[in-house]
Amino acid sequence: MIQKELMTVTSQTEIAHNIYEMTLQGTLVDEMNEPGRFVHLKTGDDMIPLLRRPISIARIEQEKQEFTMIYRAEGAGTIALAKKRAGDKVDVLGPLGHGFPVEEAKSGQTALLIGGGIGVPPLYELSRRLNAHGVKTIHVLGFQNQEAAFYTEQFLALGETYVATVDGSLGEKGFVTDVVRNHGITADIFYSCGPTLMLKAVEQLHAAPRGYISLEERMGCGIGACFACVCHPAQDESGTAYLKICSDGPVFPAGEVAL
């Protein structure tokens, strides 16, 4: 069930340059049953900014009724959010959308998780669940540079982890796709989240026979009513078919969406 709740901030830390990790507490966490779904937040109490901000869920701790999200403070909304402190309230709507299907990877199989920038966070909860499910995970994380990198240690604790930065200041110089190619990494299934151009390149890698990608787009309502975040399906003879990223996605089977 989608719920709206005034949740309590339990912690907020800047973990990389302009990258914040915020943990929120409330009963809405009981509804979080799948990695890759997102929450839609009011970042301020007034009318500026007016719309909510969609942010992915990085970690779910149901026993503590807490979830963690990692976001980049970039526009007016996320900059306002970054000013919140422990004890402050945030108006949260969620959980929204369809997430990564964990059960598509079988126990004993290997899953390749490829994340770019602010697309990395939802892969963390995914990796935790895959590992709990007996799936071996390989992580390939791409960042702009060392300053913008985060959670590399946390991913390493869950499995083999490669890091790529555009300027080579951390890990290997280049893109996530270069790392996968250079090391000849293959898996039974892949899961990926990041900029659309990266997702397109990841699909073309064919590092696994099948996979799932998570898309990003400007959103209005976040629940499928406003038609702001539509995309074309890969197969569509009519030209009028559409998928809503917020409610049909944000996670889609690889190859289903025209990127």
Partner: protein, 303 residues
Amino acid sequence: MNRLSIELPGLSLKNPVMPASGCFGFGREYSQLYDLGSLGAIMIKATTEEPRYGNPTPRVAETPAGMLNAIGLQNPGLEKVIENELEWLKQFDVPIIANVAGSMTEDYVAVAKEISKAENVHALELNISCPNVKTGGIAFGTVPETAKELTKRVKEVSDVPVYVKLSPNVTNIVEMAKAVEDGGADGITMINTLIGMRIDVKTARPILSNRTGGLSGPAVKPVAIRMVYEVSQQTRLPIIGMGGISTVEDIIEFYLAGADAVAVGTANFVNPFVCPELIEQLDQYLEAHNINHISELKGRSWK
């Protein structure tokens, strides 16, 4: 007597609050959140004869206390709206107002004729004011004589009363209202969005792929109030007022300006529970202020 119930042409409303067209899809998403039967009515997303994909993304851009949208009338087309959406909506005890759009007179007539036969469609809302399509739409909404002719043609084929949705992007809103009244309209809904634009200062390019879009949200409310105030004094037609409503005080303001009912648009995106919340708060407001019936407030700013 229920202090919120309202009788309008074709519409027996248990309360005067309804979601505005384009901000509520066909109701499916919001039905996961609350009983759609609690709403006064539902103005469904604009329906065209053929399916439309609409404009490329980005389709929305935020503005201070508002937003620009350029969706471009995306909808599955007349046939699917009747078969799937209106059929599905029958499970709820709520009258539907079908928003009818097109590029040419014949398109409007074709959609109006068929969609007005659906048993839960109690009224049409003629969309002559969408700013985001290349042809039709807005032209019908800015030339009084054209608007009048279109209203007349649609009235000839519609089985239910016809409300015309006015565009604020005109020099003289009263002239437009009188024109559709002459054309036989049963009511007016107002206002649609104001044409606006945002430019990305980093790239120097418009943010919306359509370049311009329709401005909605609290930012446009004063414009809507002024227009309802003017039109309600100059026509006999009932008015469903809209434009930036997000609080119960906003609803009261529209009534004082001269509205007979109200629609809530952009606020549904900010708070998906806003309509049922406003209905409850409106009843409490009337009780607290010793107002026997909401209609007592109509036009009080000029009467």
